[in-house]
Symmetry: C2
DNA sequence: AGCAAACCCCAAATCGATTTGTCGCCCGGC
DNA sequence: GCCGGGCGACAAATCGATTTGGGGTTTGCT
């Protein structure tokens, strides 16, 4: 390492010397030449699409080995119109939910000879559309789309072009788009019912920015209604899905009705629930003693926070695997019909927080 | 959604109907035909590599618009030998450190017209080598390699082929491979020194599986030596980087010398530190009252656990951005010289745990 | 021996772009 | 009036594979 030039993090690299004469990769023609056959034959021993005599095959194999030949994927893709690559479009790979989902897709594709091309949209519609075009231009064989709004992102375009699309979360009603969903509504319903079982005096909810996560809100309100209760509008506040946002939301709830703080809070995701717990601790309140808290997603952090979070399991990995499988079933030609929906369960996970 | 077929998660999709006649994409020839020019000219208005008359250009643009033409990336790559795609090879995208790093790379590349192809190796040498070949076959323009052991993963191959490689973490001494590093050794040294400042009776360390993370171990031992102390070998135990592994390691430490538990523990990463805190709590010990704990990485969870973790900041995002920049500087031709090293600081972050 | 059916292999077209050499045209200068 | 030069467009080669029609040789059967 001593020989390397060391740069300060921001330093601009200097202009350098000319690059070495790159030894270009060996092509199928060179293999053919060495084996004394035509490129056609080499291709056939590689693909097995036509019979090749035993001896010839051996010679070709030998030539391939000695030359270290590896087929050029790009050229192959151009001819076959298959890139053996699928695209995963998510808001942010940094979000544990999406990174786990991505891993699920990758694992489902592993061994199927498909690679993954990943795009971060930050939930921005423009970027979603741009990336969708990008992956189509690149000839992706399939797309897993975790978009805020699949329709306006232009999910119809690839589907119409014959490129399979699997939507995650709210899908859309296209005859050829598959979708894997969880039942946010009933998950939220169960979580809320669990909170209500302690018969709290007042219950609150921290929701996501409208209109996203509407299902989680309606599950909550349905449970409240089913318990013959009403909910104070001052106790329905909005956060931005982050820990900080949850903390702020909890703070506004705590100051909304002086002297009458809620004793149960359902949060539309775990990060906001963790933020809510932050705010409660800051306010000198205990969880679950003074206030019961429940979240949604069951990310790793749910068992790291203290007290461990009661939450609804959002099976990110399974969602990814299912999405990958749906894609593979279409890519392999095993299935080629109308859009399917795979609903995944999202059971309540009761822990200490509520 | 009612119209969709709903499948149970494991159900096998049935055989379907024939696929619609796919309308193939519009090519540069169709554009040329409509505009009444040759494909050459279309290419030139697109790339701007040669002058095209004002009127002609207008006509071509018009044709492109009405046809909705988008260049085929695959064909372009074949001819230009540039895929405008870089590969990111990491152990596991699910690990927050690597997902954040990946995002950093993607952001550094954003606007530079490069896409990202992501591979999960699980730290398995075979998979690292396989993916390295895969991305070369796919014609990746550059590679960010976060491998356990870059050399045996075959990082030399792409470098020799003229494909830029940036290594993250321990690099290797190839004249044309860039590397971005943090100073694990001194980070660990500082963290350990901080723990020693409380003058604990006994200090322990939970390290990663040898030989990985050796730098963090040596920083620890150096600090111990500098304080004129020695360390009981029974207090150097190994975990597998996970929370569970950290918990188990802490447990063996606690039972190693009955009646003489250590009162300070340095963990080679945050997840294991969190596990250690789990074990300490289970044993009825308080943090930092009975035992001070420090970790390494400063992942999000470090501020979620209670008490908040004293740790060493591992700037995953900045590492990714730096790696992306190094790559871009080579891809753009701005730099083409010997291998560079970008060292990033990893300051101590003091919180409540130690 | 004669003939058809396998059996192997190859030449050439193709995928959709980029790149380069060339050619025609028009303009201005001597 | 002739020539040099710049401009603008095109034809054809190229990237590295796959695909397909067809041709030559061998095998098998009567």
């Amino acid at each position: 390492m001593a020989a390397k030039r060391t740069l300060s993090p921001g330093a601009a690299p200097a202009h350098g010397a000319a690059r070495l004469p790159e030894q270009s990769r060996v092509t199928i023609n060179q293999v053919a030449a060495l084996a004394g056959v035509s490129p056609t034959t080499v291709s056939h021993v590689l693909s097995g699409k036509r019979l090749v005599a035993e001896d010839t095959r051996g010679a070709v194999r030998e030539a391939i080995r000695t030359l270290g030949y590896r087929p050029n994927h790009v050229a192959r893709s151009l001819r076959t119109r298959r890139s053996h690559m699928i695209a995963i479009i998510v808001p942010d790979i940094t979000n544990p939910f999406y990174s786990v989902l991505t891993r699920g897709v990758a694992d489902a594709l592993d061994g199927q000879d498909y690679g993954t091309y990943v795009c971060n949209t930050d939930g921005i519609l423009d970027r979603e559309a741009t990336f969708l075009d990008d992956v189509l231009d690149r000839g992706a064989d399939g797309i897993v789309l975790a978009a805020i709004d699949a329709a306006s992102a232009g999910a119809l375009k690839p589907a119409d072009m014959g490129v399979p699309v699997v939507c995650v979360g709210r899908g859309l009603d296209h005859p050829r788009i598959d979708v894997v969903t969880i039942d946010d509504e009933s998950g939220s319903y169960e979580a809320t019912r669990h909170l209500l079982a302690r018969d709290p005096d007042r219950i609150a909810m921290i929701q996501g920015p409208s209109p996203y996560g509407a299902q989680r809100v309606s599950g909550f309100t349905r449970a409240v209604a089913d318990a013959d209760r009403t909910i104070d509008p001052a106790y329905m506040v909005t956060g931005d899905w982050t820990r900080h946002g949850g903390s702020e939301a909890m703070h506004t709830i705590l100051t909304a009705r002086p002297g009458k703080t809620p004793d149960a809070v359902f949060c539309a995701n775990d990060l906001m629930a963790i933020g809510a717990i932050d705010a409660l601790r800051d306010a000198g309140l205990t969880v679950p003693g003074d206030v019961a808290v429940a979240g949604f997603d069951d990310v790793d952090a749910a068992t790291i926070v203290h007290p461990p979070l009661t939450t609804v399991l959002n099976p990110a990995y399974d969602i990814g695997v299912s999405a990958g499988r749906l894609l593979v079933s279409r890519l392999s030609g095993e299935y080629d019909g109308e859009g399917r929906e795979v609903p995944l369960p999202c059971p309540l996970v009761v822990r200490a927080s509520g």
